[in-house]
């Protein structure tokens, strides 16, 4: 069964540094998402992306965040200047036109 693949599985960075989280969505999917989950809490929507542009973003997704689909397969989330409170699991997800949302296994981001 096709999967959403995320790399790295764990990223440790210092406060103020830039990080890029990478995702390879399922190949025939058209809608792409980033969610995050702070340890022990619920999964929260960050941003959705369709047709090479952001279709919706949450209030969490401020100017420090950006997303990009640099080629036909990758979907990235960049945090320009990380803060301690950015520490969380970041999940990439994708779906087709009439298919449910599939999540990757996440990248654990630790900001020290």
């Amino acid at each position: 069964e096709p999967e959403v693949t995320q790399t790295p599985s764990h990223q440790v960075t210092q406060m103020g540094q830039e990080v890029i989280l990478r995702c390879v969505p399922i190949s025939n999917h058209l809608y792409f998402y980033w969610y995050r989950q702070i340890l022990g809490q619920k999964v929260e929507f960050l941003v959705s992306f369709y047709n090479n542009e952001i279709s919706e973003k949450s209030e969490i997704f401020d100017d420090q965040f950006s997303v990009e689909r640099p080629d036909g397969s990758n979907f990235t989330l960049k945090i320009r200047s990380t803060k301690l409170e950015d520490s969380a699991m970041y999940f990439c997800a994708s779906r087709g036109v009439d298919s449910p949302l599939h999540f990757g296994n996440g990248t654990r981001l630790t900001v020290t």
């Binding site: 619920k42 999964v43 929507f45 959705s48 279709s55 999940f91 997800a93 449910p100 599939h102 996440g106």
Partner: protein, 114 residues
């Protein structure tokens, strides 16, 4: 109004028992209600989903009951097994919002004792 309220926060059930998790929502524009199962270190995986045109959907041991007038839906796990021990999230989305982003409940940690 975007919240989905989930209860209980944790649940312990004996093997073979019935696990019941409840969710409530306010936004009447929600039209898709999935349940996700998450094991430690993994992403949420879709378990079962329902749309408001039906009141119940069953897939194997998992059943969603949906009450549109009460704006509530629940997950029933029949004959619960130790392998069902995981965190379960209810969620909701609206196609009218465009992106169909999911709004998640806070999760229920289910433990099934052998």
């Amino acid at each position: 109004q975007q919240q989905v309220k989930q209860s209980p926060q944790s649940l312990i059930v004996q093997k073979g028992g019935i696990s019941i998790i409840n969710c409530a929502y306010e936004n009447t524009a929600f039209d898709y209600f999935p349940w996700y199962q998450q094991f430690p270190g993994k992403g949420p995986a879709l378990l079962i989903a329902i749309r408001p045109d039906v009141s119940e959907k069953k897939e194997g041991r998992f059943t969603i009951s949906f009450n549109k007038s009460a704006k509530q839906f629940s997950l029933h796990i029949m004959d619960s097994q130790p392998g069902d021990s995981a965190t379960y999230f209810c969620a909701a989305s609206s196609a009218s919002g465009g992106s169909e982003k999911l709004v998640f409940g806070k999760g229920t940690k289910l433990t099934v004792n052998p």
